[in-house]
Amino acid sequence: MQRYLLRRVLQGFGTLLVISLIVFLLARLSGDPLNIMLSEEASKEDYAVAAKHWGLDRPLTEQYLTFLGNALRGDLGQSIRLRRPALELVWERLPATLQLAGAAIFVSLVIAIPIGVLSAVKRDTPLDYVGKVIALVGQSMPSFWLGIVLIWIFAVTLGWLPASGTGSFQHFILPAVALGWYQVAAVMRLVRSAMLDVLDSEYVKLARIKGVAERGVVWKHCLRNAAIPPLTYIGFIVAVLLTGSIVIETVFAWPGIGLLAIDAVRYRDFPVVQTVVLLYAAKYVIINLLVDVAYVYVDPRIRFQR
């Protein structure tokens, strides 16, 4: 089992290494960063000096190895536009993005769990179909459009909530709903299928025989057990949400990593883009690894593979 885990860790590192190479090459392919850094009147000498300063006059392989070495020491370069360490910039924006993702998860659970439970209990009734429609429509809505429509209804027409920015609790509601809605469908289906399994089980029968009220059976005995599969996927959901937040942050002018990344791409501020891509990839690899480790402990079949 240690060998299995070790292999997975090494694979994770390998993946990140390849991604760092891709990211590095993409940054170089996009044109000379000096064209953006220097003013239009810059002379050839200015270019040469700047190239030397940023190490851009070196061979590509050497540049990549330097980049990699620095990255391993936590130095992902300076933002060309803002002249500050890229990692620091990303770090500053991280809390806003995480808060939004957290709020979105909360929203999706609050909407999805009751619908999932009810459609399992009232299986094949109109209620179940309504749940399915909500799920299907949710998965078909582009989040940017949902965001705009929410702004139109709740900020412009009704004037209940702020349309953009941060600050108060109210600022969270619209972006969290727009971001979390897509997950509602997935979580709802998970809860529904888990509930259907649990509702058939022996201990639920026992609880009924004992005379526990139906409401207690469903919401206490069943839901507690049915909540396990959706909880297992929270890690994945976080990953999906963080990527999705790039769009939602644009719609709601939310000062998180997504907005930073989009600005960085527009200004060709590649150290920042590299940092964000690497960070997201690392997050994905780590989440996958953690889930695999968890599976190893849960499922003996994996443990005893060679």
Binding site: L29, P142, L190, Y233, V247, A261, V277
Partner: protein, 297 residues
């Protein structure tokens, strides 16, 4: 990220007693209706669109839809800030969205399928190499990579196709490879080998036909996803460049006008919702018909 969705779906779809939602009569009528409303205008756009999608008249800018005061039958769904007819642009936009997704899915599908077939059939080094590439493709943040690629190669119709197919191939590769692993154990593969078939012939002639159902279902389910992706890229300004009518781009145009002219954003977005909804319904239905074991897709 896509793995996440897969595993979530796998659980969700494994629901016992799950009845295909698209099979009830009213749903089928709905699906057929939207499909007709989508495909017919996309094909016959030049004859059906009431106005030129690119030419606007500034005198008629930001006209509301017909049922609001100030609206007229000339511009049924209103006009955008350049005085272009929104309905006509939506009709041409259907063309753009559908052609982008079909071409990208075809390219991504072919590349992914071939890689998956070889990885699964030959195993060993080919397999590890392909699967590590799949890992890399899955761990790259989709939208961000699209943004970077669009900046690197410059936004155009071709760029969008390159980006989207690049994001799609890995799913096919993984799915096909998994199926090949089981198919290649079956007797007919060994028999074909004994009969003297070459590896290439076995892969394409004997194994590929056994994974076609999977491919059809996967491709159908992906059309909706790709339309969302294309819409998102266009919305962020790195998809189809203006003035070509693309739904995502139209939503982006109306974003700053949501206070005064909601229809500019609303209708193109609604077109995306209905299209993706119908495609998902068809995908679900096909999955149940062709290949129930694909519930884990």
């Amino acid at each position: 990220m896509a793995v996440a969705a897969d595993r979530v779906e796998a659980q969700a779809q494994a629901a016992p007693g799950r009845r295909a939602f698209g099979q009830s009569a009213p749903m089928l009528v709905f699906v057929a209706l939207i499909l007709v409303l989508l495909v017919v205008p996309a094909i016959f756009a030049p004859w059906l669109a009431p106005h030129d999608p690119l030419e606007g008249r500034l005198a008629h800018k930001l006209k509301p839809p017909v049922w609001l005061t100030g609206g007229s039958w000339e511009y049924v769904l209103g006009t955008d800030p350049l005085g272009r007819d929104i309905l006509s642009r939506m009709i041409y936009g259907a063309r753009v969205s559908l052609s982008v997704s079909l071409v990208a899915i075809f390219i991504g599908g072919v590349v992914g399928t071939v890689l998956g077939l070889f990885a699964g059939y030959f195993g060993g080094f080919t397999d590890s190499l392909t699967m590590r590439a799949v890992d890399v493709a899955f761990s790259l943040p989709t939208i961000l990579l699209g943004l970077v690629l669009a900046v690197v190669i410059g936004p155009s119709f071709r760029t969008v196709i390159v980006i989207v197919s690049f994001l799609l191939w890995a799913r096919y590769a993984r799915q096909v490879r998994g199926e090949v692993l089981t198919v290649k154990q079956r007797d007919f593969v060994a028999q074909a080998r004994i009969a003297g078939c070459s590896h290439v012939r076995i892969v394409f002639g004997h194994i590929l036909p056994n994974v076609t159902n999977t491919l059809i279902v996967l491709a159908t389910l992906q059309v909706g996803y790709v339309i969302l992706l294309e819409g998102t890229l266009s919305f962020l300004g790195v998809g189809i460049p203006p003035p070509t009518p693309a739904w995502g781009l139209m939503v982006a145009t109306g974003r700053s006008l949501i206070v005064s002219a909601w229809w500019v954003s609303f209708f193109p977005g609604l077109a995306i919702v209905l299209t993706v909804l119908v495609l998902n319904l068809i995908g679900d239905w096909l999955r149940d018909r062709l290949d129930p074991k694909l519930r884990q897709l």
